[in-house]
Symmetry: D3
Subunit: 186 residues, 6 copies
């Protein structure tokens, strides 16, 4: 729990994702959590990764997408924090490291088994998130469609689709997979 000067108790939740990219499923999850809590910490996990097949976007690009998407639907930016957190090699210290990077919180929202386990082993409360239109709202599916040229823009918020196109990130995903060159010769 944290205190503001007028001493009203507020509840802060924490939500961890890699957001490669941020999509409509993430948006629904955040909307759901913001109904249950006063404030939300959105952790951009594996923040050190980018420019690889499963993690094409930098942390900064992921922060940008989240802000754009939440602005789109009018969520007050005073209700959330967006914090990039790098991975640690030692799994058992991940939650301790995470806590040092973010404001205090009372509850973690996650469906990921290892995250849930580490949070519980540290004596913290963890809650799951209802599943929405699961099949489509997966980052893997979106990256795969960008690569193959299929339509993907309806799977992410409008401003995120716009950002992915204009920032050159869509092109990056295609460039990274290029097989025009004999990359295995040298």
């Amino acid at each position: 729990m944290f205190f503001q000067s007028f001493e009203v108790l507020l509840i802060r939740g924490l939500f961890v994702g890699r957001f490669q990219p941020f999509h409509n499923g993430h948006l629904e999850a955040i909307n759901y959590i913001l109904k249950k809590t006063d404030e939300l910490i959105i952790v951009v996990g594996s923040s050190q990764l980018s420019h690889e097949k499963s993690n094409p976007f930098t942390a900064g690009e992921r922060v940008t997408m989240i802000r754009l998407a939440l602005n789109d639907i009018g969520i007050d930016s005073g209700r959330y924090f967006i914090i990039p957190v790098p991975d640690v090699t030692v799994h058992s210290t991940w939650f301790s490291e995470l806590r040092s990077y973010v404001p205090d919180f009372e509850i973690v929202y996650s469906n990921e088994p290892l995250t849930r386990l580490l949070v519980k082993e540290a004596g913290f409360k963890v809650s799951s998130i209802p599943l929405f239109t699961r099949k489509l709202f997966k980052a893997t599916e979106i990256r795969s469609r960008i690569l193959s040229g299929e339509n993907w823009s309806n799977l992410v918020p409008r401003s995120v689709a716009n950002f992915i196109e204009k920032s050159g990130c869509a092109q990056r995903i295609i460039d990274m997979s290029s097989r025009d060159f004999a990359d295995d010769q040298y």
Copy 2:
């Protein structure tokens, strides 16, 4: 430069500090920069450091102080990002690492010679910040006063003073310097 959907050009600035703790000088600097730019990225530098004499606060505590202070004076949280960034051992890659953690920006505000040098060597624009009532608004001075029991709360925003007291951080600074025990025997 970045684009919102209605395609108006906005200028984003970047300001780096360690904020150990956040004080009135930081607040004046941010107010100054927000008059020159549309949005501001506030980088919480040396984010991996805490619990040491010159760096007592965790990144999460520093993020909390900044949000509280900017809320205090009614700055719209939609105009800024607060992003913790760890140090890197290789100075020459620091700016490249920094860029991967934050949204795009056009100009860096800093008075620190090494920061200015690294930004300029990367071909980016850097601007200095006018000095305000310098002597008092220094983090070193505030940490020293907390330790010696002198009055320090007027040097930081009201909500920050409140946070430092209630969160136990003031006590931590005192505990860390304790000489009640023979710490050099074992």
Copy 3:
């Protein structure tokens, strides 16, 4: 060779394992080596790993299991050391790093090709360990049985089975693999 104060020459061996978990095959190997040497250094390798599918146990839990198992069969704790050693990214410096973590030794016992190669390239003596009832005494087999609910406790020393159950480690292995939640959505 090392000298005790009464200046008798003793031979110390070194045995490296990950012990995920410690099982009857490890116990037979240690018994074998202790017949050939005066003292034994038991290195708990990959000490930084835990909470992952192939490495569920922390270094501390592995140290605990080894001590319990050797106590069970009455091996004098004065005859061995148990030392956790983290991996290094540079394979060619692993043996040098290992040597800095442990007391002096004369011979390494290992059947693992890379370990044997690195030891030999450093000019040290390496010896292999006879194979005991191989098929059953494999850590992979034990972790797989814990997960599927098959009987596994007869493959490890009695006190180790007891520890794995009571410490919650068996439950951790199950929790980590949980597919009750849509871990791939977020």
Copy 4:
């Protein structure tokens, strides 16, 4: 708390030192703690450091000294663990990392302010150690005497003095400070 199969509650303490080198003050502290607890975990801190002025000994050499000293006075090696633990750059995760390297324990014995603070912030019990003949029993004093050729062997257990001489560690301390060569020219 931990359980052995016959379910007697035992208390395990933890004692952290750098042991550069292990001296009579350490020995008195360990004797004191072993009167208060059933078992003791002796953590060899900053295990990655060696070959520097304040940290001349490797972790392995420090483990060796501790075992020799405790053997000297007949402490049953079944009552303690000696575990090297490397430093972490992030202070706030140090205690979490430490816990992953060692068996479970109930209480930490330390007079060092930062150690005490980090243990308490994690919700663990910490106790101080009475001071013995303080002035002499300091590692700094011993290293300084080795360097200047003064008598130092009465400040450490007999077998430790013997080890420091015969292993070449005393000579290393002298060699490392050699000013026969113009080390600042190249």
Copy 5:
């Protein structure tokens, strides 16, 4: 661009490879680039890796092979630099790190999509290399032949083949894959 005292403009190219091992395809590529540029920086990438299946050779062994091969065909050693560069975990800072390790250069020669992308994102010029007798001149093929005992020496320069044999590296590749021992039991 760089200047020598007589102020003639020279063009320096940069070529990145892992050279596990250096083969005739690498040699042809270097010959090709040296026709287009005045000087060449040969970066030995992933310099920290060795003693693993896909990366058996140390950086030092790879530097040795390159020098031997270029000497063989009489390329003036004044026209090139051989610089080992370790990988970084953060892809987006790799090019920045690389630049700090090597002399200035104007153009990068690479067919590898990620290398090409990172170079272009940094605003540098990248050029591709024509493919030579592709199928045979692949490091994977050579390592596989060494392991299986097939003829491989005609795929690498004569002095490189000689080095791989006499230095014991061929034997290392075989030793590392040894399955004479039950490496999965312990």
Copy 6:
């Protein structure tokens, strides 16, 4: 010793320096060693450091200075290697790491006590270098003169002085120490 294809025994020496910057004393040392050996490996130590007061130059800039200086006096580039090697946190593995980065060698030339100690502990041969006009030929002296505007160019080879001026490195040393700004306020 290493063999060239015509099987003549050659002696290779190794010389470690930080070269911040490369000066006439380094040049005399290299000339001295090249009279005693057939080939020389010049290790650019602490290669990861740059942009700090005692280490202003990047590894790449130091490699460039060395090549320029040796070209100046007509030393055949076929007789030496210039290899940047990063520091490691574990002193006791430094020499092992070093060996993995460079071609084989028989003897290390160094006057630095720790380097000499680590080389000797690894069982290698180490030799000292005669002192030349010591007082002037120190990197500290040169950096200090660049900063204060005193004459320094006669302390380094002519082409090195030229490079330091034209590359902007002299200006960097001055910029890094700038006190025009209140760098301690923010």
